[in-house]
């Protein structure tokens, strides 16, 4: 790979000056490379990170089936790599005006990487440099341990989507000082609800009683409240003490749990496995924020390349070329979701609404339709507001907070449905709903969302590892359970159990005409039925998988 030439680099530096003047914040140093097709062949399997460790699966055609993005947290194919200095890749024959547009886009991405809090844990590292060290480590181990290194990579990658991304973030953001939960919080939030599991009306009665105590005894209210509470639940103090002890421990994910507790890995001759697992976990955590901010990141970059390109005096005369490329990138498709288009429109919309001061208590309180429509406080703080959004939000939060009916109506958005018309032998696309609520739901459903699977230490008995898949009305892909659990069994060095939920087949499963990689037909024509769920327990022991229904 070659760096871009000095002429182009000068254009980039000019773009940086203008972007900084507009308010974007990013580090000075960046690296721009020209890539050839050959480079890309090597880069794409490695999520565009030049120094990523080698792994044989990268050399094989990986089945690109539906749900592929659920398997890989990174955007597989990107222009900008979030590392220090930021790296970006270019065609060698882009005209200057196009480079200007792309540079603005890239700079906005870099700004996003370096300011959005979901990337907080990546801020202090040169990831590409780290990756190089990891790559050497793995190459070294491979020369010693041979293919067993690849098995460890494979098995750890099998669970790398369960890495505790949010736990990591909260650890970084909050620092190590854990705030101890207060006794009162514990009593109401945990003890009554999780431990005692009391009924709602009893819970409300407890709150009433607490309020009464506070009113009658003032300062001594809490004391007298607990005096009664302990009479009722003498075991409370013991629970609270235990909770304080346990609560001090940070939450750990499955990979960490295995590294700390698996006898197999902690044998002297297997200690090296831990460093391989660490590399895989670190890579996964590094890539996760990208996929959780796709709409925002692309929207932010599109917003800025549009706003910075047009006033740039260096490219006068290319407005037309720009318009063509830009509209191709940022137009809303008739059917489909374009993150550039959607994200950019959201940022414009939020800016406009904030300019009018509508994100304020003053506006929220107004109930008259006309008054709401005409409301305009002329705050002029729209752009300041979207800078805050870019710092603090992820895709999921962005959608929940800002996709409202006004936005959907304004951009003529709708949820498109697809029906089979068997008489005419055509797919019929139709407008299914223009309700913001439905549109939000559709967007949420399309976002990356790994299953929530945790270790249940209470049920780890007799060297059995017990995993719980928390119920979210989403079953797991059954075909993948065997290999994934086999990998965990190997790392754990003992039997592994997984508790999960599955849909009860309501009628004898009819064979679908599913040929080869073709998808099975979705049962669109069938009448809507109530989904029934059952809890099942998979056990992997000696590389044999068994399934049992839980009652």
């Amino acid at each position: 790979m070659e760096l871009i030439n000095q002429h182009t680099k000068k254009i980039m530096e000019g773009c940086k000056e203008r972007a900084r003047a507009a308010g974007l914040r990013f580090e000075d140093e960046t690296l721009e490379y020209i890539v050839t097709n050959r480079d890309l062949l090597e880069l794409t399997p490695k999520v565009m990170i030049p120094n990523l460790y080698d792994y044989w699966v990268h050399d094989v055609e990986v089945l690109k089936e539906k749900g592929r993005y659920e398997l890989y947290p990174g955007n597989p194919y990107e222009t900008v790599i979030n590392t220090r200095p930021a790296i970006s890749f270019y065609n060698d024959n882009n005209p200057d005006w196009l480079n200007v547009m792309i540079f603005y886009h890239v700079i906005a991405h870099v700004d996003f990487f370096q300011n959005n809090l979901y990337f907080r844990h990546t801020w202090d590292d040169d990831f590409n440099g780290q990756a190089l060290a990891d790559k050497r480590l793995i190459a070294n181990l491979r020369s010693e341990k041979g293919r067993w290194v690849d098995y460890i990579i494979e098995f750890t990658r099998g669970i790398d989507n369960l890495a505790g991304y949010y736990d990591e973030l909260s650890r970084v953001n909050r620092g190590s000082a854990t705030t101890r939960p207060k006794r009162l919080d514990y009593y109401f939030d945990v003890f009554l609800q999780a431990v005692k599991d009391i009924k709602i009306h009893e819970y409300i009665k407890e709150i009433e009683r607490y309020n009464d105590c506070m009113r009658t005894h003032q300062d001594l209210g809490e004391q007298s409240f607990f005096a009664d509470a302990i009479k009722k639940y003498p075991e409370f103090e013991a629970h609270f003490k235990k909770y304080l002890e346990n609560g001090a421990k940070p939450k750990i994910d499955l990979i960490q749990f295995l590294m700390e507790n698996a006898d197999f890995i902690n044998k002297d001759e297997n200690k090296w496995m831990e460093s391989v697992m660490q590399v895989v976990r670190k890579t996964s955590l590094f890539l996760q924020p990208q996929i959780r901010t796709k709409i925002m990141n692309e929207g932010w970059a599109s917003y800025w390349h549009e706003n910075l390109f047009l006033p740039d005096e260096r490219i006068k005369g290319h407005e037309f070329d720009f318009a063509r490329v830009n509209s191709a990138v940022t137009s809303l498709p008739r059917v489909g979701l374009n993150p550039y288009a959607l994200g950019m429109r959201l940022f414009y919309y939020i800016e406009e609404i904030a300019d009018k001061g509508k994100y304020s208590l003053d506006f929220q309180r107004r109930s008259d339709l006309d008054g709401r429509k005409k409301f305009d406080a002329k705050t002029g703080k729209g752009q300041e507001f979207i800078f805050k959004v870019r710092e603090n939000f992820s895709d999921s939060m962005l959608i929940n907070t800002f996709v409202d009916q006004d936005f959907v109506t304004k951009n003529k958005l709708f949820v498109a449905g697809k029906k089979l018309n068997s008489e005419k032998m055509v797919w019929k696309y139709y407008v299914k709903s223009r309700k913001a609520q439905d549109y939000r739901q559709m967007l949420q459903n399309s976002l990356y969302h790994p299953p929530h699977i945790t270790v249940d230490p209470e049920k780890n008995v007799d060297n059995k590892l017990y995993l719980v898949h928390h119920f979210e009305e989403k079953p797991l892909v059954k075909d993948f359970i065997f290999n994934t659990m086999m990998g965990i069994e190997y790392l754990w060095g003992g039997p592994v159990q997984l508790e999960t939920s599955e849909v009860v087949p309501t009628k004898p499963a009819q064979g679908h005409d599913a040929f080869f990689g073709y998808p099975s037909p979705s049962q669109t024509e069938e009448q809507v039925q109530e989904v029934q769920w059952e809890r099942v327990l998979y056990t992997m022991q000696d590389r044999e998988l068994t399934r049992k229904k839980l009652v």
Binding site: L63, P76, Y77, L337, N338, V426, Y429, P521, E526
Partner: protein
């Protein structure tokens, strides 16, 4: 209900049927009777053809390099890294030694995206298994996507044909044959991989039947007067011959070549000529039961296995393989290509004999037995309305007289108990399997068999 089928049913009933047999037949009778592409297949075709559009429904399908700079993500096929395929398969074999299941899958068929003709590509692939949510399992909701623009709720905004419109034939020279060729070159490579890496046996005796249609060119013919290379020995002999008759050679013991006369016609040359090719070649019949009971997994298994067998034979015969495809329910039908063979929808009843009879007819009519090594592979779920094999066995015997190998695959339904399918039962009863183990093989697989099992099955069907 098809009156002919009904008639057949009554005939069978008169001969006597057990209740379970009757139930099976009735269920097939009442099914859908068209072998048109099933909706599922048609849908899948549509889906596969617009992979690009489908992918765009998803926000993660967009990326900067393509959308901004027009740089496509490079498509690396296994041929670009073929050097490493051997290595990969070697590694895969070691996995078994280490006690883990194989990870490279082979024989998976993918279809390239829009604009391409329907072609079948065979590649080694793998999957990285993880715990992920099953996106297909939102069974009670229809597919949804984002959209924008005008239109009332419930208004149709567009239609898309289920099947991509037929691409115009002959869009360019050689266009028509391209797809098939692609399939073959891929299949040939796969046959090689299968033979070498999955340890499928080589054929010991391919037979000596000669091809009449293929020629090679060689410098074998002799020609007087002109040609490419002079044949010195033959020329000398000719000169001597001529001079003997001219009387220039009076004493055999004392030859004086300086007195010889050399006529232009005496020079003998070697000349490039067309030779008949004596390589052996094969004709493979693929027979598939596409009756109603074959729905789902059974068909998939049979067809997958047939692709693999086809690849293997293609390699063994160094591409000198011709194929015929026959599908049958109660009647047999020859279809023109593999694509139709593998996509025809299942329906109707089952009479195995119909397909066998058709093979016999074709072989007899076209006099194939003389020139070809004939292989016949039949895939079924083991149901047959002709429960005792009264009609099938005689046809089978006829086939055994000329075939190099007949391989029958039964993909048994989970509900069938061991050794209980009709085909299996009457084959065992006929004792043909024991009498002619070199010619007739049977492989019974369970409906949920995996690829590994399929390859095992092929070994059973084709080994010496």
């Amino acid at each position: 209900m098809d009156p002919e089928l009904l008639k057949l049913y009554h005939q069978l009933k008169q001969r006597g049927l057990t209740p379970s047999q009757e139930q099976k037949i009735l269920s097939e009778l009442e099914g859908d009777h068209s072998h048109e592409d099933s909706p599922a297949v048609a849908r899948a075709k549509a889906a596969a053809s617009d992979t690009f559009d489908r992918a765009s429904d998803n926000i993660y399908a967009y990326n900067d390099p393509f959308d901004l700079q027009g740089i496509h993500a490079p498509q690396s096929t296994y041929t670009t890294c073929l050097r490493s395929v051997d290595e990969l398969l070697e590694r895969d074999k070691k996995r078994v030694d280490d006690g883990f299941p194989r990870k490279i899958r082979i024989g998976r068929m993918i279809k390239p995206g829009k604009g391409d003709k329907d072609k079948v590509v065979v590649v080694p692939t793998t999957a990285e298994e993880k715990f992920i949510h099953d996106p297909t399992l939102q069974p009670f909701e229809e597919e949804q996507a984002g959209g924008s623009g005008d239109g009332e709720e419930n208004e149709t905004i567009g239609e898309e044909p289920l099947r991509p419109q037929d691409v115009e034939q002959g869009a360019g020279p050689g266009e028509g044959d391209d797809g098939q060729h692609e399939m073959e070159s891929n299949a040939y490579d796969m046959g090689k991989i299968l033979t070498e890496k999955f340890e499928l046996p080589n054929l010991k005796d391919k037979g000596k039947k000669r091809s009449l249609t293929r020629y090679t060119y060689d410098m074998t013919d002799r020609h007087r007067g002109f040609g490419q290379i002079i044949d010195k020995r033959a020329t000398l002999r000719k000169i001597v011959e001529t001079n003997i008759s001219l009387g220039n050679l009076p004493d055999v013991g004392n030859i004086d070549p300086t007195g010889f006369l050399i006529a232009p016609n005496d020079k003998i040359y070697r000349i490039l000529s067309r030779e008949k090719d004596y390589e052996s070649q094969a004709m493979v019949f693929f027979l598939r039961d596409y009756s109603g009971s074959m729905i789902g997994k059974a068909t998939e298994l049979v067809v997958s296995q047939h692709v693999l067998i086809y690849s293997w034979l293609l390699y063994q015969y160094d591409r000198q393989v011709e194929t015929r495809f026959i599908v049958h329910d109660t009647k047999a039908k020859e279809v023109k290509d593999f694509y139709t063979y593998y996509n025809s929808k299942v329906a109707g009843g089952t009479q195995v004999s119909s397909a066998y009879r058709m093979v016999n007819e074709i072989v007899e009519k076209e006099n194939l037995a003389q020139d070809y090594n004939i292989y016949i592979f039949h895939g079924t779920d083991g149901d047959d309305w002709d429960t005792s094999g009264k009609e099938t066995i005689p046809e089978l015997k006829k086939m055994l007289a000329y075939a190099n190998r007949i391989g029958i695959t039964i993909a048994a339904h989970a509900s069938d108990s061991a050794n209980s399918t009709e085909v299996e039962r009457y084959l065992n009863k006929s004792k043909l399997l024991e009498e002619k183990p070199k010619l007739l093989r049977l492989d019974v697989l369970q409906e949920d068999s995996d690829e590994q099992r399929l390859i095992e099955g092929i070994k059973r069907l084709i080994s010496e």
